[in-house]
Every structure is written in C-alpha cells, then in structure tokens.
Symmetry: C2
Subunit: 476 residues, 2 copies
C-alpha cells in the first residue's frame, strides 16, 4: 500500500469511526449474534493477491459490526468502563508509525523518557506522595503496564523476591524451596479475580479475607490472619488492598491495612484499577489515606481517564526488588548507558513494549486536567441520579452506598427474582448490565461506562429496569 | 475534542507519519540524546486547560523525534525487525474506536471470532498441521498473545499444570509442594532471555543445554539430560525448541527434540518468534520438521509479517491445560453461552485484550500472501548479498551460515577487535547494530529490519563496516 492510498484509506476510516462513535446511541448495545456466526461469512484462507481497501471497509460494517458489543454506547452498563477518546486514537497512529520497541533506554530513548515524565505528571494529578515520583529522586517511579492483572502479578513477584532475600539474609542455609511453600499473601474476598490468578501464577498461597458490613477489608482482620499464619509456621509476605472492588466498588481500609502491613514487614500493594482515576478530583482522595505507607500502587487510565487500552499505571516505591527478580541480561539487550534511566524490560513480564506514553501525553494536553475531573464528576453524578430513582421506588433497594460511577441494586425479593430481572433487562436489548454476588446476595451492577452517557440515558435505563421489574413481578 | 477537530488532527498526523516513514532514510538511525534529555524540555505537570493540537504536533517533531531510535530506517540493523505497515495502522484506528475488551466471547463476539478465524488463516499460511486449526475440530486452536515472552510463560504454566495433573493422578497422596521443586524444564543455551525468565516466573528449574557445532540443540543432548535428571529424582516436564535464535538465528533440531519430548512424555513448545514468519514461504518449512508432534507453537507476526506490535501468534494442541491452570471465574465475567467459542481470558496472563485480529485481517487482505512471501524473500536475499560482500573480503568471516535476514560476522581477530569494530560502526552514526556472544566468540549481528531496505542500503552498510574495519585495524 502506497502513501497516497494510506491517506485515502485512513481518511475514510476516520470518517467511519467518527460516525460510529457520534451515533453509537442508535446501535443495539449487546450483539445478538450466535456463537460461530462469523466463520461462514469469511473465506477459508487469506487471499494470495491484495484486495481493495474499499471492500475491507464495507466488510467492517457488514461482517464485524453485527458481532460487536458496543462498550461506548451510553446504554452499556456492564463490567467497568474502558476508555475511548480522539486524542488517544491519534496518538496511536503516531505510536504505530514510529513503532519502536522500548525495552531498554537505548532502543528508543524518547519512549522511556516520555513515560517517566508522564508517570510523574499522572502521579501529581492524582495526588500520590513524592516517594513515587521519579523526579523526587527517592528511588521510586512509575511504569505503564498492560493491565492491572500484570501489575498485581509484578507486585506479587517483587514481594516474593523481597521476602526470599530477607529470609535468606537472616538464615543463609535456607534455599527458595524451603521458603516458597510457606509464603502466604492476603487480599479481601472481594478483590478482583486477577489477584487470585496472580497467586496461582506466582505459585503462592493467597488468602481471601472476610470484609466488614460495608464490604471493606479491615486492618484487624489482616492482623489476625497474619498472626494465625505465623503461629502455623507460614511466612506472610504480601497484601493487596483494593480501592473500588469490581464486585461492588467497595474500598478496603487502606489506612489500617498499610499500617498493619508496615508493622508486619510485608509488601502492601494497592489495586485501584477502576476507582484510581477518580483521584484526579481531590474530594475522592480520602479513600487512599495511608498511601504514603504502601510499596506499590496501580490504576488503569485505560478505564476511566480517556487513555485507550492498554495503559495500566503502576508505581513502585523501590523498583529494585522487581528489577532483580526478573533480571536476565543477554549481550544483545545490553547498552553502555545502563543505570541512568530505567530499562523498563526489567519492570514487566513481557520484553517488548509499545510507545504508550504518547497516548497519555496527548490526552492530558488536549483534554486537560479540569475536563478529566469534570468527566469523572459527571459520571459519578449520573450514578447518583440513577440511585435516586431506585430509592424513590419501594420495589428496589441499593445493595451498598454509591461512591463512584457504579450502582449495585436489587429488586426486593429472592436472588432468583433478581436473576430473572437481569435476564429480562438484557433480553429487552436496550441496555446491558452484568451481575455480582456478595455474601450470598445476588445483585445487578449498573456502571456508567460511556463518555456519551447523559441524564436522558439514565432515564432510559431506569425505565428499562422498571418495565423489566414489572414483568418479572407479574410472573411471580 | 469534537469530531471535526479529530478529522483535522488525524489528517495532519497521517500526513506527518507518511512523510516520516517515506523519508526515514534521511534521519539519523540511532538517537544521540543523553539520558535525561526530555524532562527539562517538558512542563513539570499536566495542563489544567486543553491545549491546541497543533502545538502537540509541533512538539512531536521538536521534542520526541530527537529521542527516537528509528526502527524502520533501512539503516537499522539491530535486534530483530518489528513490523510496520499502513494497513495495520488503519486497523488500529478501528480497533481503538470500537475499543471493546474481548476477555470473553459475549464481551464482544466479533473480537473473539475474527481472532479464531485469523489464527486459522495464519496457520494455513505457514503450513501448520491440522491439529492446530480450530476449524479442524481436533481440540487445538490459536490465540494472539502480546509477546513471545508471554507465550513461552503460558506454555510453561500449561506444561506445569499438565505434569501436576499426571503426577497426582498416578499418586493421589502427592501435593503440589511435593512436585514443584522437582520440576525441570529444558531449552538450548541459545534460547531467548524470555525463556530463562519464564522459568524464573514459573518458579521451576530451567536447564540451558549445550548446542552442536552448528548451534543447534540436538535430541541426544535432551535425552541425556532427561535421563540424568530422572536418575536424580527430578521430574522433566517441558522443553522449548527455538527456530531462529536471537543470538545467531540457529535452528534447534525440532524433529529430534519433538521425538524425544513425545517419548519422554514432556510438553514440547516451539519458539519461532522471528523465523516463524518465513514459513509463509514453503522453501523454509523444512526447519519445522516434527511440528506435528509439538504441544504449542509461537511466532511473532509483529516482527516480520507486517502486523504492528503487539501480535504474537500462539497455537495450542490442547488448550485445556492452560485454561484449567488459569481458570478463576467470578460471576461478573460469566455468560450463558460459555463453551461454544473460546473465552480467551482463560488462555492468557492479562484479563483485558484489544481487538488485535483486525490488524491481521487488514494486513492479510490488503497485502496478500504473495506479497508477504516476496517481502520475506527480499529480506533474506539482502542478508545473503551482505554476506557475499563479507566473504569476498579476507578481513572478515561469517560466524555461521546465513539462513534468514540476519548476518552474524566478525572481523578476523580477537573479541576486543570486534568490540572495537562495533563501537566504531555505531559511533559513525550511519547504521546501527548490536552484538552477540556464543561459546566465547563475540560477533556482530546485521539484521535486515526495515521494509524500506534496498540493495543500495546494503552497499552503504557494507561501506560503513569496511571503513570502520580499516579504522580499528589501523589502531592496532
């Protein structure tokens, strides 16, 4: 494909995606295709000779779009949001064209250096303490990981390396095999599935601890679990505090957990994948009280801060544990200026990495902090508006307090009734939600996900819930 | 940012990146900035109010480009290639706009289904056996991983899960802790650093085995190592065969390794990260003799097949070991149609995933198989042309046979002389290479990396080597 054709093709694509996004409200939010719909519509193998890009464009609408679940529809209320913004899309055109692989500083200095500065910008935007700023020179710093799953795993592996080092220094006769089977990590029972997975991948025991009546993990619970495990000869090494659980957006008591973690000499990691973006607004930062005591912190700008996937921001107080745990250093990856700037390949699971900080740079400059704050406040306000409608109807109840852009609710009655309600809502096809279950109670999750969602959409969603509610009640 | 502004901005960016790529030969391939160059040039924090996109555009050239190492310059001969193509860039505009997260089938059916079909297309393009085709219904199938590092780790974790299952079935009194410390994996001493890292991450012993005089791992070496380890009470469970090592592009004897692996009942994984793309040309498929006996196979279309990073293609004969090893299944991620199509979240380390198969679809259709073959053959031919120039000059020698787009060479003399040669070449600043060292011998690697590289560029590179060679010889 020549430059001229690329210009025409990309211009056509930009028109297409602009029209797609600006009119996304008109599309059916949840795809209704059946599993296996696509294969019969496609050739069985790749063409030998090039096709015309116009044919590809028309196949996008004809073949792909019917199978797309529209995450950016204002009627999409499932999971958590994923970001989408024009500045980020344009940044990716640049990133895909420079197409450098930033595994070390020398492999493309700008790729590493912009990331270091953007992670400092972002740390300041959300009010992180100086220990996490590269510019503060205290040893801490940030990195873009692909996902929160990877950040949690990296933190766990760093914590594991740290504890192995401590134990072996205390008793040089010990080997890994003596220690690893005794390692134990902790999180709330409501922590994300990726935390359990990190435990599995890291080959260590992970305890899912009970939460209090507000679904928060408390310091005392952690302290008791650690004491019991120590008495049983186990070695506590790592705790994950979640700020904004996926299940119901509850916030663990970081202030208490961090204090216990420090006292017990275990690594404290914070998973704020979704809610972390809200900390651009000072009024939500009270949720991260205790942050100055933690070892690592992670949240996903690719969820709620308009930087498209993948961009999971992670800060480490002391990156050396992770760097040393992963350090494998063949000659072909070495360079003469090592040590002055990060070689990010030592901070992450993969070797290769894209120039992702361009997305942050474009979004922060072209949207600006004030608009990012405005957008967070708008989404939380829409959630509160939806909650108000529920509270004004005696048939419904909130599962817990609404703190962010997520409303967890039930129709008063059994779990089965609520399962029927969710099924009815999704089958009506106008809006899309997913459920959760906490301490035996099944409930519906209504997340504000799209930057196009307005108060009128909340009325539509409320109407859908209400009509579906009447239907399921009438069938009882 | 409004649609209208997005159109202007993206159109300007497309012009910019088109001009960047079409004239990339004129740029200095290796950035000459010093560590820390960027921070003083940027504000210390993000702006509160939005800036104009034109200011961002002008900063790209002014602030970013001086720090970019130009991987797509025809004078870039370091590492291995990374892909870049116009169809892939346009596909990413679409992917970034749909911006769905394809962790399960229901979360966006097209995202999963196009991937399943594209992995079948690609399997056929490189001549993989039917056991790896989803359409064959034999249980096998493919997935796009982010990087080869992740694919190797996933394979190792699948193999670990498989061996734990086998051992526990044979002796139900055994627990993980009895088995894991005895597990042992194998690769050639020349396997990629990510293989050693996968061993570290997976918490198992990895043995780097000696290669033969052609730098290939042989079946007998593996058989002997396994026998010795079994005699010592260890449990062999996994072997990685590399097709096209990063060090010197040697090919392990897959035919022998796969046979031994099967006879010994251990998982055989193939890492063909770079060289796998060459199998679109039938004349190179002899390197994967034995492929029908392996458990998993991986190569990176994002290296040498014009699909931009990240797109690492992995096939599994029986994905269930991986699926069961990772399976953590919270209610909010479940759906009613599970089991009919893959839920790829169970096949990978991260939870989230982009709509990456669009890049494959666009590239395969708009470039076509014949042009992809042509491009591979062109690159290998350019490497052979460079090798010819070396062979015609008695001052130089090839380190090993040239099989792909990589030439490993030395100036006759000591390692120190070769180190000086590399330093001189890179300091002259016209071309960029990295070294490797195998069995004590330091050599230079000249990789053909850019789709813009022509025979005239090879003459330039040869001239640079030759001039640098004269300089270092004159200093002796």
């Amino acid at each position: 494909m020549e430059f001229k054709e690329f210009k025409e093709f990309s211009s056509d694509m930009v028109d297409y995606v602009g029209n797609y996004l600006e009119n996304i409200r008109d599309r059916k939010v949840l795809s209704s295709v059946k599993p296996g719909y696509l294969r019969p519509l496609l050739p069985t193998e790749a063409p030998n000779d090039p096709e015309n890009w116009k044919d590809v464009m028309s196949d996008v609408e004809k073949l792909i779009m019917p199978g797309v679940t529209h995450w950016h529809s204002p009627r999409f209320h499932a999971y958590f949001p994923t970001a989408n913004s024009y500045p980020a899309i344009v940044a990716d055109i640049l990133s895909d064209s420079i197409a450098c692989i930033g595994f070390s500083w020398i492999s493309s200095p700008a790729c590493t250096e912009l990331e270091v500065v953007m992670m400092d910008w972002l740390a300041k935007m959300i009010g992180l303490p100086e220990i996490f700023l590269a510019s503060a020179g205290l040893g801490g710093g940030g990195i873009i990981q692909g996902t929160a799953s990877e950040a949690t795993l990296v933190a766990l592996l760093g914590a594991k390396a740290r504890m192995l080092q401590i134990m072996k220094q205390a008793d040089p006769t010990l080997a890994d095999v003596d220690i690893v089977p005794k390692l134990v990590a902790y999180s709330s029972a409501l922590s994300h599935s990726s935390v359990e997975r990190a435990g599995l991948l890291g080959g260590v025991l992970l305890r899912a601890l009970d939460t209090d009546s507000e679904h928060k993990l408390r310091g005392d619970t952690l302290r008791d679990a650690i004491a019991k495990d120590r008495a049983d000869g186990l070695v506590p090494f790592f705790v994950v505090a979640t700020l904004g659980t996926t299940s119901c957006c509850s916030f663990d008591r970081l202030d208490e957990i961090a204090e216990v973690g420090n006292a017990e000499n275990i690594w404290v990691h914070v998973d704020a994948a979704y809610a972390g973006s809200s900390f651009v607004c000072p009024e939500y930062r009270h949720y991260m009280k205790g942050i100055e005591l933690v070892d690592s912190f992670n949240f996903n700008p690719h969820k709620w801060l308009q930087v498209t996937f993948d961009c999971s921001a992670m800060w480490l107080r002391n990156p050396n544990y992770v760097i040393n745990a992963f350090n494998v250093d063949p000659l072909y990856l070495k360079h003469e200026l090592e040590g002055q700037m990060p070689d990010y390949r030592h901070w992450q699971i993969p070797l290769g990495r894209r120039f992702r900080s361009l997305k942050m740079w474009f979004v922060f400059r072209l949207i600006g902090v004030a608009n990012l704050q405005k957008s967070i406040r708008k989404d939380i306000n829409l959630a509160l508006e939806f909650a108000k409608r529920l509270e004004n109807d005696s048939k419904y109840e909130l599962f817990n307090e609404v703190t962010m852009g997520l409303v967890c609710f039930r129709i008063k009655g059994s779990n089965e009734l609520n399962e029927a309600l969710l099924k009815e809502i999704n089958e009506r096809g106008k809006v899309y939600m997913v459920p959760s279950k906490v301490k035996g109670s099944f409930f519906l999750r209504m997340a504000i996900c799209s930057r196009y969602t307005q108060i009128e959409d909340i009325d539509v969603t409320w109407n859908e819930v209400n009509e579906a509610g009447k239907t399921v009640l009438s069938k009882q």
